[in-house]
């Protein structure tokens, strides 16, 4: 189902329901997911995810219904039931009404690729077959996924807002493993693009195999502060948590965000620019819908500019309470959670290094980290203290060169303070999809941070 059909449906529902204050967002996501494990294509699925979010206001009293039923009659009934619920609830302080016809829009970046939208189960298998064969030929075990996704979204309000969007997304993740589930060396490769034909399957598979082979027989390393170079995948794990705790107006209002009360202050290094960049027209870095769940056109928002906290993100209600305008950052409900407010396209600015190896050259003794695992950013949110472990490749750096593999280590450190000690980033950046959201991706370069705190020694892991 394409977005123009969804928009027509939404308008028809609003006209038929007869309620004066309604906002209706309708989305259809269709996903083909070919999942590899233990060297076999074990789970291959086609998933449909219909979702309509109805909000009805009675003055400043607001209720909401989320439903998978996208037929006209079901949605009209949902509007009526939501209207009845809205009459019973207290007023929402700062409710700003629904988006109107006259609110700004912009040029929507092209984010649709026919090849992705048309991908069949047979095509996904055909693309994955060489991946499975290459990892097998290397004497390793493959795991991962190839996903092709089509997303159509439309928002209409009784105040005349009407928006629609069609997009596609494809993502490839591959692991080359020494053993299938028991640990051992592992290498990872990944790539996201709107066009499945543009995915670098062969190169990323080769990378996963190389990292796995180089990770064989890791050495132990003591806990301590190490200069690190983190690849974009590792940086994105930290940025995901920063996105979750720092930039949404609710966390700022609540006082738990590291940005709360600090706008205008230097919160990290002067080389750090963090931008919510949802309208990027770079085909390798831009993903997702150009308007938010309220129909507000998204916009580029510099959040941290040269290390200084500059802005946070708003939906309409939080913006009104703060005396500002929505940044188009209202999120749809997902993963069993309410729709909140926050970034979908957090982007860390590029540096000047030609490669990660150039960053490594500036380290006397440290670590090269490919990925992180199970990062948690709730340790001390006001300082953005996070803990987690390395995964899928961690190497000792000595005298400016990447050396032997070391066992995985646990870190616990403030990411913002770490970024204050960041003195190098690559010019090249990569888009990393977030695992909990369909809406976008994190964009990051490889970075070098001085004295990152590893509080767990790698030799602790294998000893039982």
């Amino acid at each position: 189902m394409r977005a123009d059909a969804l928009l027509s449906l939404a308008k028809e529902v609003l006209a038929s329901a007869g309620e004066p204050e309604v906002e209706l967002t309708v989305r259809m996501t269709e996903r083909g997911c070919a999942r590899v494990a233990m060297g076999e294509l074990g789970q291959h699925m086609e998933l449909v995810e219909p979702q309509a979010v109805v909000r009805v206001a009675q003055g400043a009293r607001v209720a909401e219904t989320v439903t998978s039923r996208l037929d006209r009659d079901a949605l009209v009934e949902a509007v009526h039931k939501t209207a009845a619920a809205a009459r019973l609830v207290p007023e929402v302080e700062g409710f700003a009404g629904f988006t109107g016809a006259g609110e700004p829009t912009g040029a929507a970046p092209s984010r649709f690729a026919e090849a992705t939208a048309r991908a069949t189960p047979e095509e996904r298998v055909e693309r994955l077959a060489p991946v499975l064969a290459a990892v097998r030929k290397a004497g390793l075990v493959s795991a991962g996924m190839l996903e092709t996704r089509t997303q159509a979204q439309a928002t209409a309000t009784t105040r005349g807002c009407a928006r629609s969007y069609d997009g596609t997304f494809s993502v490839f993740k591959v692991w080359a493993l020494e053993t299938p589930g028991a640990g051992g060396a592992a290498g990872y490769g990944g790539h996201a693009h709107r066009d499945v034909t543009a995915l670098a399957l062969e190169a990323e598979t080769a990378r996963a195999i190389r990292v796995c082979k180089e990770s064989h027989s890791p050495a132990s390393l003591e806990a301590g502060n190490y200069d690190v170079v983190m690849e974009p995948e590792a940086v994105a794990e930290l940025l995901e948590w920063l996105a979750s705790i720092a930039f949404g107006a609710p966390e700022v209002e609540q006082g738990s965000s590291p940005m709360a009360g600090r706008l205008g202050e230097t919160i990290t290094g002067e080389g750090i620019d963090l931008v919510e960049d949802p309208l990027s027209d770079d085909p390798a870095l831009g993903f997702g819908c150009p308007f938010d769940r309220e129909g507000t056109w998204r916009r580029r928002v510099p959040l941290v500019d040269k290390g200084v906290a500059r802005a946070v993100l708003y939906d309409r209600a939080h913006a009104k309470r703060a005396g500002t305008a929505s940044t188009g950052s209202a999120l749809l409900p997902a993963m069993g959670q309410a729709g909140g407010v926050g970034p979908t396209a957090l982007s860390l600015g590029a540096g000047t290094a030609a490669s990660a190896e150039e960053l490594v050259a500036g380290i006397e003794r440290g670590l090269y980290v490919c990925r992180l695992h199970y990062v948690n950013g709730l340790v001390e949110p006001r300082r953005a203290v996070m803990t987690g472990l390395t995964r899928d490749g961690c190497f000792l750096v000595e005298h400016g060169r990447i050396g032997r593999a070391v066992g995985n280590l646990r870190f616990t450190d403030s990411f913002l303070e770490g970024l204050a000690r960041c003195d190098g980033m690559t010019a090249a950046r990569k888009a990393i999809p977030t695992w909990w959201s369909d809406d976008g991706a994190i964009v990051a370069p490889a970075i070098r941070m001085r004295a990152w705190r590893f509080n767990g020694a790698s030799q602790e892991r294998p000893k039982l």
């Binding site: 809205a86 994955l128 692991w175 006001r382 995985n408 039982l464």
Partner: protein, 485 residues
Amino acid sequence: MADPALEAAILWLKAQPDVRYAEARLVDETGERLRVRDGRPEQVTAEASRGVGIRVLGSKTWGFACTADTSEGALLATARRALEIARASGSVATRAVALPEQAAQRGTYATKLAVDPFTVPLETRLAAIDGPARALRTGDARLKSAEAWMDWTRQHKRLVTTEGTDVSQSLTFGACGMQVFTIGDDGRSQRRSFPTFQGGDGFQGGYERIAGLGLDGATDRVKEEALALLTAPPCPAGNTTVILDSGQMGLQIHESCGHPTELDRALGSEISLAGGSFMQPSMLGKLRYGSPAITLVADATSEGGNGTFGWDDEGVPAGKRALVERGLFVDYLSSRETAAALGRASTGTMRSESWNRPPIIRMVNVSLEPGAGGTLEDLVADTDDGILVSTDKSWSIDDLRLDFQFSCEIAWEIKKGRRVRMVRDPFYRGITPRFWGSCDAVCGPAEWRLWGITTCGKGDPVQMMQVGHGASPARFRGVDVGSSS
């Protein structure tokens, strides 16, 4: 929950020569989420979702497709699509999936409840959380923000398989809690939650469970603790004795026992999101996972548990089985396919988030059997030097579920059998079998409580699941602790 279209789809699949097994699962789900914060409603959301997922085992491997259109025509088309996917994947399979037969199951199952939460007026439900949330923020300017929530989900589902299984279930899940944030003069923030951390407060049952939670009666204590934490000293670093209260035990079990005993992880099926497991099949019956005080069970029959049901999503009846018996690793959470790889029978843990996801191995109620340690206060009195920690704040564990670090909202130092002072920002860390091996006391049945995690994420694409954990407080010796601040 009769729906002849399901039978039609299964009959068609049964007639296909290369279909070895197929299941059609109709899920009709309704829910409601209420959240209030700082005197205003943050969320008043009704939810509805309905559709059918069809999983087919072809000559070699699986295919899955789903539809929100439950007409016979749509289901037949979905069945065809699932088979096409299985055939496509089978073209690159090097071996055929082995799936032991399951005796046909028939029947119904429903959550036991006294008061249907969906019959309670919306205003009553909102008032039940708005009062405590307002009270939490009253009386001190440092009480920056307070919120409370109440969620209800009812899931009707019917499973029909080519083996003749036809079972219908109606599960009613609830969750309710509150939390307050304080900010001190130095800009530091603290949080206290009740009855445990947010997302750990789930159950199955009716509205009668809300009164039993005691939100109103707990507000004074919760905000006093949140304020006291602002000036409490940081938790001293060192290696000491740690007592985990019942709620924190739930999280500890979840991360360091529940997940590593999932057989799909151990075999390598979940690398793409979750990781593997240090508990490998070769260790069954040999690995000393914990001390003799530790018996952990997977019990899908616990009354009121988030992981309680009649049958799992591939038709295996619910049961209770030991995973760790007196410290020894004895079994996995498994599916029919994964158990067969070890020559075992499924432990009945295949569950799916909804109609548009295939079932995968999930925790049921993974619980620690009560011990002989008396009450929590008995345990404190029996401890010469250590800390008592409560209410998880952050959680992290490695991809094999060995190296964990959990921080909590609050702790108390224990000296000579008494709680002597509150300390802030505590964390403890360890290596799973060493940690469980250091347990020398588990409190008795009077302290045992069944908690429910509402948002356990697993799978790729990720699926959220309700799972349960019962536990009494327990004591662990020689644990590394410190303060995250």
